[in-house]
């Protein structure tokens, strides 16, 4: 009942022409970001963040969040028509979406993705509304030791669950943590690891890092590895082809609901996120299908489930973000950075200190979900046309916006040069298979984790037992240890089985 009242107040707050317009702008920009190669949601949020400085915090967060979950919708178009995922969460959509396009059923693939995303996104939002308040109330019992433990769990999960080799994930994580210590120490005020440079006294900004790692390096990679549309005639999709037939809906509604439930609960886990949710959903649909051998050849269920899961996961990711202040992915790490820059500390006190912002944001996600359904059904031919004509000039547009956007953070050319360094690093990391998400999460959370650790030791008069005598700490750290050891144990067991 309380939740309904709060949600109602949120809807009352969001029902303002300016806020609705920003919601539309955010979701439209998110879809564009997902459709067009080169600028992922993390970089887009980072670049657009400085432009929202003068705005009301809710307005800024509505627009920036819209980019985040809007990109989940947009990434489908390139997956289906180019066999190139627009977003990492749309990788698995290429397995059956692209074959569908080759069979002339690209419109149906895009339609089922849009409708499935809407249904699952709504399911995710309902669960978000139900869980956010109880979890944040529980988290009010958290002190510095608990916060430190939760951040350790986030670091471990994002390293063990992120794509790529675990060693490489830890390399990225440790580099991010090390970079987070550059600059002035928050406790003693001493400058650290600056090598005498005044530019580094304020530390390594996460916006230049994110824009370089996920924005410009993506452009460079796309230029080096260009792709082409599926046969021209089959990529010219008419609007009527996007509307699902009754038969297609009957086949896929179950996949959409299953994807929604699975995606939400996977999305809640830090480090898991939309990508893992989409893979798990694909695996589930294949397992329960009567014709699993046909997956990979154009099964519509293979598009419906994963696309639903990735959208629900984006709602799930807001649970730890709002209730604990813990990001689950690179994109949500940037959103946390956005909260902090706008003067709002995410975490359990967010619900009590800023209920209008929290519930206004959640309400805007319901509205945004509806806007995205309309956009991704009605505007598909437009997005495809845009993708076709913009390929020659998109790198110029993205590069310029990145340079100007990063400069406008602190009006510092140093930040722009830093972005260029991270661009080179991002490309080399990509070729070497080192993921960027652990680095960004560590960069955003590293200082907070260090502060929580040092504060905990002060509270306990220097004794580390503070982490092993508080029940929540013990449970969270044990979970982190289990996540760390599980892949090692599993590979050993597999090795033993193969030997036998």
């Amino acid at each position: 009942m309380e939740m309904l009242n709060l949600l109602g107040e949120g809807f009352a707050r969001i029902w303002d022409p300016w806020l609705l317009m920003m919601c539309f702008f955010g979701t439209f920009a998110g879809t564009l970001v997902g459709v067009l190669p080169g600028l992922g949601p993390s970089a887009a949020i980072a670049v657009l963040l400085p432009l929202t400085y003068g705005a009301d915090p809710l307005t800024a967060l509505v627009a920036l969040s819209g980019i985040y979950y809007g990109a989940m919708y947009g990434g489908t178009i390139t997956s289906v028509l180019l066999n190139v995922p627009g977003e990492s969460a749309s990788v698995v959509t290429t397995y059956d979406g692209y074959p569908m396009a080759r069979q002339g059923r690209g419109g149906a693939a895009l339609g089922v993705a849009a409708i499935g995303s809407f249904i699952a996104g709504t399911i995710g939002l309902v669960f978000l509304s139900l869980l956010a308040v109880p979890l944040s109330r529980y988290a009010l019992n958290f002190g510095p030791p608990e916060y430190f433990a939760v951040m350790v769990l986030a670091f471990v999960m994002v390293s063990t669950l992120a794509r790529g080799n675990m060693i490489k994930c830890f390399v990225a994580l440790l580099l991010g943590l090390l970079l987070s210590t550059v600059g002035q120490d928050v406790v003693s005020g001493e400058t650290r690891l600056t090598w005498g440079s005044m530019n580094l006294v304020d530390g390594v900004g996460f916006i230049p890092a994110v824009v370089g790692l996920f924005g410009l390096s993506e452009i460079i990679h796309d230029l080096i590895n260009p792709s082409q549309f599926v046969d021209n005639s089959k990529s010219k999709i008419k609007l009527r082809e996007v509307f699902l037939t009754w038969d297609d809906f009957r086949r896929t509604w179950g996949s959409m609901v299953r994807g929604g439930l699975l995606g939400f609960f996977v999305g809640v886990l830090p480090g898991a996120g939309a990508t893992i949710a989409s893979f798990l959903s694909y695996g589930l649909e294949k397992r329960i299908s009567k014709t699993p051998e046909k997956f990979g050849t154009g099964m519509i269920e293979g598009v419906a489930g994963p696309e639903s899961a990735n959208n629900a996961a984006s709602s799930g990711a807001f649970v730890p973000l709002l209730a604990l202040g813990i990001p689950g992915s690179g994109s949500t790490a940037v959103l946390i950075g956005a909260f902090i820059i706008l003067g709002i500390q995410p975490g359990p006190r967010l619900m009590t200190e800023h209920p209008d912002i929290t519930w206004g944001l959640i309400a805007s996600m319901y509205v945004g979900n509806g806007m995205l359904l309309a956009q991704n059904i009605l505007l598909v031919p437009f997005f495809i046309w845009l993708l076709r004509v913009s390929r020659n000039i998109m790198p110029v547009i993205v590069a310029t916006v990145c340079v100007v956007g990063v400069y406008s953070v602190d009006f510092s050319m140093w930040d722009v040069w830093l972005m260029l360094i991270f661009t080179a690093l991002g490309y080399i990391f990509r070729v070497a298979g080192v993921p960027g998400a652990p680095l960004v999460i560590a960069l955003v959370l590293g200082q907070s984790a260090e502060f929580a650790l040092r504060q905990s030791l002060v509270i306990s008069m220097g004794s580390a037992s503070v982490f092993f005598t508080r029940p929540i700490c013990v449970i969270v750290l044990a979970t982190a240890a289990a996540c760390l050891l599980y892949p090692l144990i599993r590979s050993k067991l597999r090795g033993l089985e193969e030997t036998e």
Partner: protein
């Protein structure tokens, strides 16, 4: 095979780079105090992180590349990505962005954007000069107007234009 060799070379390069970086940061961290009253000093965690980075970078450099997870390659190998890698365009673009940033000091954001846009569409998109010039002027003007006038972001005018 080519992709795996490329990845292996890049891994070794990243590993060397990070080993060098972590050694330098270990040295810098050792100049700071490790403890404070009841808690860790400013040098403790940088030392721990840098040491961890050194260890894992060495492991990454010494162990062979593992097979990429399945998510990187779709079961239907019908991708029509072009087989040859276009390093020329990637390198030129990177250099152009670096030149763009450098030029801002002299000709400001407006001039830099126009020059960058013009060079890109001439060299990479291979547009004819009139079309390229028109696009560069329109895009440069739009960016400057949008950021400087509409959003109130004061862009660097450059030395030549009164910066």
């Amino acid at each position: 095979m080519l992709k795996q060799l490329k990845a292996l070379g890049a891994e070794r390069f990243v590993s060397l780079l990070l080993i060098t970086f972590s050694v330098a940061e270990i040295y810098a961290a050792l100049q700071l105090s490790m403890t404070e009253e009841f808690t860790l000093g400013p040098g403790a965690l940088p030392l721990i992180y840098a040491s961890g980075l050194l260890i894992f970078s060495c492991i990454m450099g010494l162990t062979p590349t593992e097979k990429e997870p399945a998510e990187e390659s779709a079961p239907n190998s019908a991708s029509i990505a072009l087989p040859t890698l276009n390093y020329r365009d990637g390198l030129i673009t990177f250099i152009l962005v670096a030149l763009f940033i450098s030029s801002i000091y002299f000709v400001g954001f407006l001039g830099g954007t126009i020059i960058f846009s013009l060079l890109y569409v001439l060299l990479i998109s291979k547009w004819p000069i009139p079309k390229a010039a028109a696009f560069a002027l329109v895009w440069g003007g739009a960016v400057y107007f949008g950021f400087d006038h509409l959003l109130g972001v004061q862009l660097e005018p450059g030395i030549l234009f009164g910066g």
